[in-house]
Amino acid sequence: MISLLTYTLKNLPNTSKWALRFCMRPLSSSSQLQAAAASQTKSKKTLAKPNIRNIVVVDGVRTPFLLSGTSYKDLMPHDLARAALSGLLHRTSVPKDVVDYIIFGTVIQEVKTSNVAREAALGAGFSDKTPAHTVTMACISSNQAMTTAVGLIASGQCDVVVAGGVELMSDIPIRHSRKMRKMMLDLNKAKTLAQRLSIISKFRLNFLSPELPAVSEFSTSETMGHSADRLAAAFAISREEQDEYALRSHSLAKKAQDEGLLSDVVPFKVPGRDTVTQDNGIRPSSLDQMAKLKPAFIKPYGTVTAANSSFLTDGASAVLIMAEEKALAMGYKPKAYLRDFMYVSQDPKDQLLLGPTYATPKVLEKAGLTMNDIDVFEFHEAFSGQILANLKAMDSDWFAQNYMGRKAKVGLPPLEKFNNWGGSLSLGHPFGATGCRLVMAAANRLRKEGGQYGLVAACAAGGQGHAMIVEAYPK
């Protein structure tokens, strides 16, 4: 057991350093890899299943992801969602009346637009005959939106579905306290002046203290950052490893941005402000500077800091999903197939963020693939510590045997295929919108790097998780 631990201990930072160096190298060497990956794909089978419709992603877009409180701060969530929908219409030129259904994911709901999908669709000029609904599943909300679309198409209910997600953390619904709300509602019902006065006389100053949306897990009252810090400690992941991984994410994102690889981003003219064209949270720093930060959750000795966590983000994303035959009939050249997917859940206290570890082996098994078949990994990065803990857990036979009821570990995803264009740590993480970004990143990377299979995985509050296989559409 100890030898296993030291092995992973030694291995992890090394590979991440290696990957870091690798990505700093000139382009020529990375094209070598592409060539290698491309040659590998030829031998692989397709995952099409008999009697089940093939479902494709035609294309997908997202607004630039911005730090909360910056250019999007005066908008409402449906404004952002609208921007993503308009961007998708523009990018794909899909006739609005072809769309059978619209589904959006979101987490912190604006009470005025609780079905934000419908409000955004109407505002974006979609047909008022197209129904829309909103789903919520914490950080995998837009994954849920996409898989709901897959279900609707696979079962023959729809042919064309728009799925997306939105989050606006610049503004959150802060409520009156329960006591104040109760008093206001009672006042509403009171008929006589005497009744009203008697209700008002019960008013106390503490009624005015507001109620914030919970940042902590409802079941455990623990904030996610706190849980991530404990998770990192449980897997013995050092502060240095976490900072290194965060730096990798930012450096790769910067490189991808500079090289124009983030093609899913569509510019957004914010009313009353300049046009926003790119993500603004990508900030490669230095390890020295990151080391100066104090722990954000477990004070004073924790390891999770602002620099190695994803930040509060505003943003929206949308993808156009169709039955393959419909897409072809309409003359589209789809980007990717959406194949097997899997939802998992586990203990929300101690394994809150281990969803990818649980989902990965299951989805691979379901698709009949192994870790070696995957050319592109796109994992949601909530915290550096969370990613590294998942990597260690996936590489641990002990964990697989004792907690997942499996005979052996699924194995470590090779870091050179892992989140190569940055991740949630650097690009940002608008809770409801990240899932579509992951799928589009996987699809775009498969096209660019020439692989066949991509694996998308994410963790979510409530101790849930998701994974999906994305297969490149043959060129």
Binding site: M1, L4, L5, T8, F218, S219, T220, S221, H226, R230, L231, A233, A234, F235, A236, I298, Y301, D347, K349, D350, Q351, A389, K392, A393, S396, W398, F399, N402, Y403
Partner: protein, 763 residues
């Protein structure tokens, strides 16, 4: 003396041995140094931090024994003399336990107070050295840190504790009739302030880690970890050690100071306490409160106040001296011996001597959602046991479900549970009106009215549905289990489980086996009881089993004493001042007059004259007037919602007057009245052992104290006889025998003990 000399030589021996291999330790510091001769402590060095890991072999807990003490001293001497080491971490690698306290066997083997004082002084010296250490020592606490363990921890320069439910800090010595004898009376008041220190030492209550942090008892908290690539408990201890090492380094580098900022309230209190007059007033207040609560029956609490006072008023040298001497004195008192005996008995009664049952009970069913049934359900669901609660009507069932919910919700209000945990626990409870699901039950506990026909009906109904392996347990306080089992198709699966009300507060469970009850059925019942958190005695079937049978003659005496003209208030104060937690008259009211009558009538028939005394007529008249005790609002007293001081029920005067008995002056002094009650109880208890109803004296003591409120300071009937002398008790009985005849005839076993002073129930 011999013992201490032997230990002294042992210490010299081990010291010289490690001296020889010191170089070896240094070279191999990163590896485990378990190769050394030390058995309790494993010691290594990380960089410039010494890591001292405690793990006593062959025990679930670490205790401060002589060996641990000397090994620790030896290791500390190495730490102090090594130039390479700048700080140290003290940690236990035993899961769930830092140090659970001093080794009680060590104290019990002492025969004089001087010996005990010497043990205390040795510990004081060691901890003083530790306190004055120039190299900072960090205590890393995971699990119970009690008594001597806490004294060790507060002598260190810094404390880090895991925020685990198992991490509890406290000074429970007072519960054993002694005081913290290794410096806590002197250090604790300085560390957490006098009020908090008094509270800890006088109540013995355990303090959870988060509260300890707020009080300043610990400096940092570490969250327990979940699974990683090794078991969570193991990794949590490792992590605690890693964190402690960084703090030890920080302290050595003076980057962290051990001092903490005091809040405004604390500053004000400490200012107020700097005025001698205020201090005197506070001592007086605390003493008054203690006197009122202990009624002078427990010497330890007052001594603790004295010792703390000595330290504060006369300086720490006098304080330490007073602490060690008082510690020696207290350890030799009867009260302390009785309480320690009870503690040992309690430990025994928390084990399943019948072994693991063949099939663990996963699905429980409770029939009857009254006070008892709902109580049983509550202590089951909160331990994760799936429980069906069945009653016959929706209102009765609803009342029971509400009782369970309220019990859990009260814990949420006290913040020992989260609302989410409450909901999850409550979801283990299924309320229903029929026998659906009983086919999957592993155990049925019936808690219906005490009526044999009803119990027979429930047994037959249940047996029609339950599977073959299912245990049928009857919760009854007096109906013989054998009689209940007569209608059973499978009497080997029938057992008695006598819970005490309120079930969630009373620790005792009396399990009753008939001649036909199988061993596996007993094992299963004990297992469920232990999971419900109970202290368990297992007795043989018979009228009144053990507890009810002991109580009945005493209750008969209570009625007679009342008939002889002693008022209920007077009787209550006589019994409470003898050490009973509840007065005798109040006890009748609390238990219910109808229940008392029912039991007295039944057992009276069975045991005849020995159970005679007061007239049953008193109880019958009370019942006819509706004076059923607290539940009906009237008994000997009047009970009103929200009224704290209860008044006498004046209507009782006429009943008692009409049934007045002449009192016999030579057996009616206050002391005689107390002894008439107690000796009847004790005599019956010993008869139970003589007849084999009880298997061991320890179970008899635990049953009497935890179930019936027998004075804990006396240690239960058997300790009482041992400590006060069987002869004295027989003399008392003989004296009362002349007045009241057979009711006071001492049983043979007691007479045997009186005739042979070497005979003891506890050797």
């Amino acid at each position: 003396m011999v013992a201490s000399r032997a230990i002294g030589s042992l210490r010299r021996f081990t010291a010289s041995q490690t001296l020889g291999c010191r170089g070896y330790i240094c070279r191999n510091f990163t590896r485990s140094s378990a190769l050394l001769t030390r058995t309790h402590i494993n010691y290594g060095v990380r960089g410039d931090v010494a890591v001292i890991r405690i793990n006593s072999p062959n025990s679930k807990v670490n205790t401060l024994s002589q060996e641990l003490h000397s090994e620790f001293m030896e290791v500390m001497n190495e730490v102090w003399s090594s130039s390479q080491i700048r700080s140290a971490v003290l940690i236990s690698t035993k899961p769930g336990c830092f140090i659970a306290g001093a080794d009680l066997n060590m104290l019990n083997s002492c025969t004089t107070s001087q010996e005990v004082t010497q043990i205390s002084q040795e510990a004081q010296k060691m901890f003083e050295k530790l306190e004055k250490s120039t190299k900072p020592v960090v205590a890393a606490i995971n699990g119970s840190c009690l008594g001597g363990g806490l004294e060790l921890a507060i002598s260190c320069q810094y404390r880090i504790a895991t925020k685990d439910k198992k991490t509890v800090l406290g000074s429970p010595e007072v519960l054993l009739g002694i005081l913290p004898g290794a410096g806590a009376t002197q250090r604790l008041p300085k560390m957490v302030g006098r009020p908090a220190a008094f509270d800890m030492m006088l109540t013995g209550r355990g303090i959870r880690a988060d509260r300890a942090k707020k009080m300043g008892l610990v400096d940092q908290l570490v969250e327990p970890l979940g699974p990683g690539v090794k078991p969570p408990e193991e990794r949590t201890i490792e992590y605690l050690e890693e964190v402690a090492i960084t703090f030890a380094k920080g302290l050595a580098d003076k980057k962290i100071t051990p001092k903490r900022d005091k809040g405004l309230v604390e500053k004000l209190t400490s200012y107020a306490l700097s005025i001698p007059f205020v201090r005197q007033q506070i001592y007086k207040k605390v003493e008054e409160k203690v006197r009122k609560q202990t009624k002078g029956l427990y010497p330890a609490p007052l001594k603790i106040i004295d010792v703390v006072k000595t330290g504060i008023e006369q300086g720490s040298t006098a304080g330490y001296l007073s602490e060690s001497q008082t510690f020696g004195e207290l350890a030799m008192t009867k009260e302390s011996k009785a309480l320690m005996g009870l503690y040992r008995g309690q430990t025994q009664c928390k084990k399943n001597k019948f072994g693991a049952p063949q099939k663990e009970v996963k699905q429980l069913a409770v029939v009857g959602a009254g006070l008892m049934g709902a109580g049983i359900a509550q202590v089951s669901v909160d331990k994760g046991l799936q429980t069906i609660l069945k009653d016959t009507t929706l209102p009765a069932l609803g009342r029971g479900q509400q009782q369970v919910f309220k019990g859990l919700n009260d814990k949420v209000k006290k913040k020992t549970l989260t609302s989410f945990e409450r909901d999850a626990m409550f979801s283990n409870l299924i309320g229903q009106l029929d026998y659906r699901g009983f086919e999957k039950a592993d155990m049925v506990i019936e808690a219906v009215f005490e009526d044999l026909n009803l119990k027979h009906r429930v047994l037959k109904e249940a047996e029609a549905v339950i599977p073959d392996h299912c245990v049928f347990a009857s919760n009854t306080s007096a109906l013989p289990i054998g009689e209940i089992a007569t209608v059973s198709k499978r009497p080997e699966k029938v057992i008695g489980m006598h819970y005490f009300s309120p079930v969630d507060k009373m620790q005792l469970l009396e399990i009753i086996t008939t001649e036909k009850t199988s061993k596996d059925t007993t094992a299963s019942a004990v297992d469920v009881g232990l999971r419900q958190g109970k202290v368990i005695i297992v007795v043989k079937d018979g009228p009144g089993f053990y507890t009810t049978r002991c109580l009945t003659p005493m209750m008969s005496e209570v009625i007679r004493i009342l008939q002889e003209g002693v008022g209920p208030k007077n009787l209550d104060s006589l019994t409470t001042s003898f050490g009973f937690p509840v007065g005798a008259a109040t006890l009748v009211d609390e238990g219910g007059v109808d229940v008392a009558k029912h039991v007295a009538e039944n057992l009276g028939k069975m045991f005849g004259e020995r159970f005679a005394g007061g007239s049953l007529e008193v109880l019958m008249q009370m019942i006819s007037k509706g004076f059923l005790g607290r539940k009906s609002g009237k008994g000997f007293y009047i009970y009103q919602e929200g009224v704290k001081n209860k008044n006498l029920n004046s209507d009782m005067d006429s009943i008692l007057a009409s049934l007045k008995m002449p009192s016999q002056p030579d057996v009616s002094s206050d002391e005689d009245i107390q002894y008439r009650l107690v000796t009847r109880f004790v005599n019956e208890a010993i008869l139970c052992l003589q007849e084999g109803v009880l298997a061991t004296p320890a179970e008899g003591d635990i049953g009497a104290v935890f179930g019936l409120g027998f004075p804990p300071c006396l240690g239960g009937p058997f300790h009482f006889v041992d400590l006060y002398g069987a002869q004295k008790i027989v003399d008392r009985l003989r004296k009362y025998e002349t007045a009241y005849e057979k009711q006071f005839t001492p049983c043979q076993l007691l007479v045997d003990h009186a005739n042979n002073p070497n005979k003891k129930f506890y050797q």
